[in-house]
């Protein structure tokens, strides 16, 4: 035994730290169109490779290629582009509003717009998303009014949640958007339970669970996979790998498993990795998984490979933990620019129309903001009443809460 070295602890480190040259040579990018598209009833063990590859449709030149291409019409793609541009403009305005003190806190989607915007289009009315705070595209792409989102962000008198939730933690049953939990990962296993209920009721609806790369370390993620696997629940298990969990690089949560998608393999769950910055690829893979769920074939795990271009939230400065130019070096490009290029190539779009759309969208967002600000912002104007905080704790207000409300003078 004496010829063995003493033990030492392995602590994973990102490839580069601030001051260094950004380096994504460890992210292996297969050619667009090179990953096969299996039948939806394929045996999971036959597609283990898909957990280690990246499904891509749009190539460098903006062409849609390979077996996952060809699902969306010009009009559908133009709508998708508009959703992503709207989300981006919305984020930019709300970040500005946060700096002006109109809200205390904001989280943006910059670089990740394709994931939630394209996914929403693969679901039907009545299906339920259990999202994180970085999937507002699910709402935008489903037509949830921006004014409502802003009313909540500003916590004003028209806030649909009456000041009882954080600014961006939306909730809309009607739009298939479950109340966001600030405590990470809880929603993942709830989505599985919701899907199981759909199966128990012999309904036709399916669920979608959402989680970030970092949060997959939580126990709820693993428990969700156990339940999804055991009961073959009609659920899509989404992992958004945007490379960072606040300041912690994805290698800390991923450990030695190679990819996040590979987490599904031990559970016998088909697991696919997809280019999260490719609207067409995200849609195609989501559609494939949704069809599996609807045909009662069970869960599918999808890892979206993307990059969090902005800060984690308005309370974070990423220059402390990653090179400033890292986002420019990200090899999968920008989802808006890639779809734009594709649409121009198809002859369905042009630079001029794009610039015009940008201006129109900005105007829409500004109009919505004006309307919302008419109902107040965090520091001025209409506010929810103190009376509201005592409501909705229970379906019916018990006497002790009524007494506390009266004591508070309401």
């Amino acid at each position: 035994m004496s010829d063995l070295d003493r033990l030492s602890l392995h602590v994973p480190e990102p490839a580069v730290r601030p001051g260094g040259e950004p380096d994504f040579s460890n992210v292996k990018i297969p050619k667009a169109g090179s990953v096969p598209r299996p039948e939806v009833d394929v045996a999971p063990e036959e597609i283990r490779d898909l957990a280690y590859s990246i499904i891509r449709v749009l190539n460098r030149d903006g062409e849609a290629v390979g077996p996952w291409a060809g699902l969306l019409s010009d009009d559908e793609l133009l709508a998708g582009l508009r959703h992503m541009m709207t989300l981006r403009a919305f984020d930019a305005r709300m970040l500005m509003a946060q700096r002006q003190g109109k809200t205390s806190f904001y989280m943006q989607h910059l670089g990740e717009e394709a994931v939630s915007c394209a996914f929403r289009k693969a679901l039907n009315k009545g299906d339920m998303n259990f999202p994180t705070y970085r999937q507002a595209g699910l709402l935008i792409a489903d037509g949830y009014p921006m004014v409502e989102m802003m009313n909540q962000i500003f916590s004003n008198e028209s806030d649909p949640l009456r000041g009882r939730q954080l600014p961006i933690m939306y909730s809309s049953k009607e739009h298939g958007f479950f109340t966001i939990s600030g405590n990470l990962a809880t929603q993942y296993v709830q989505a599985v339970g919701w899907a199981m209920a759909s199966a128990i009721k012999r309904d036709t609806k399916i669920a979608a669970a959402w989680i970030g790369d970092g949060s997959t370390a939580e126990s709820d993620f693993h428990s969700a996979l156990v339940f999804a696997s055991t009961y073959k629940a009609p659920v899509i298990l989404n992992i958004v790998n945007n490379q960072w969990a606040i300041s912690t690089f994805q290698g800390i949560a991923r450990g030695g498993s190679g990819t996040f998608a590979a987490r599904g393999l031990g559970f016998g769950i088909p697991a696919l990795r997809v280019d999260g910055n490719d609207y067409l690829a995200v849609y195609a893979v989501a559609k494939w998984a949704a069809e599996r769920a609807r045909r009662n074939l069970g869960p599918t795990l999808i890892e979206y490979v993307t990059y969090r271009v902005g800060a984690h939230s308005t309370s974070d400065d990423p220059s402390a933990y990653r090179p400033k130019t890292e986002s420019e070096a990200w090899p999968l490009g920008d989802p808006v620019l890639r779809l734009k290029k594709h649409l121009i190539l198809r002859g369905a779009w042009s630079e001029e129309r794009h610039a015009q759309a940008e201006a129109e969208i900005l105007d829409e967002v500004i109009q919505a903001q004006k309307q919302a600000e008419g109902h107040g912002t965090l520091h001025a104007g209409g506010k929810p009443s103190v009376r509201d905080i005592f409501e909705g704790v229970y379906a019916e207000m018990p006497p002790h809460i009524r007494r506390q409300r009266q004591k508070a003078g309401y």
């Binding site: 205390s104 600014p167 103190v386 905080i389």
Partner: protein
Amino acid sequence: MTNSRLTYREAVREALREALARDKRVFLMGEDVNRYGGAYACSLGLPAEFGDERVRDAPLSESAFVGAGIGAALGGMRPIVEIMTINFSLLALDQIVNSAATLRHMSGGQFSVPIVIRMATGAGRQLAAQHSHSLEGWYGHIPGIRVLAPATVADARRMLWPALEDPDPVIIMEHATLYNDEDELPADGDMSVDITKAATRRQGSDVTVIAHSACVKKALNAAEMLVGEGIDCEVIDLRILRPLDDETIIASVRKTHRAVVVDEAWRSGSLAAEISSRITEQAFYDLDAPVERVCGAEVPIPYPKHLEQAALPQPQSIAAAVRKAMRR
């Protein structure tokens, strides 16, 4: 001896620095504690001094890094585990309550768990229902652990080392609204502190106001407001939530004959209820008025400031309770 001015946050950092420097077995583990410095920037700069292995970002799993911390403590280390906020500690409750707190007892003394778990607690930063709990009373309920609640910069600086020397698990509750508080402390010299005793922060003769953590300041403010009305409050900072220092509390109540207990947590089943009960058990015949409680409204904490503050004890509501105890 020179004094230095520092914030509560810097005090926590100095305490961490001292611990890492003094004992090779000490390491800090938690979410984003390395380059980011932790949710409240307490460990900022420490990785450069002590290395990534001793100031370590853990995978995002509270039950796992608390459990691994317990394992490391069993394995001879002196881990300091940071949990971003107390509500996330609920994911680690089984590890803390069923393991850390019971192992010495269950193993017939063979295993002890010298871990320190730090977490931010409390409301007041507009973080809404899921990030604003004051659950320290829950931890105060558990035999086998010690619970500290530094309310001052000095306590934030001094409590960590004795906590690490304690052979049993210690939880340190840092109130999220205190990190920017400032105070003068001796830059060197004796840093020792007794982590078994409550502290009397203001001497008074008419009524005893008992509080902990961020509510100590509110109680002191209320006491100042009442001076003009001729009411002289004694303010006690509990400091240690388990085991409670009955002696200091009861001695004060025997002197003033009146008590008001302030607790940011929800009223039903609160630490305030426990203290009120101890006063009636041990000093009933000394009381000139029923014990009053000022607690948080029993609702999930709302987001906008005016609603959040309406749900929490305030100097005004504390002063009102004191007047009631004084029959004014």
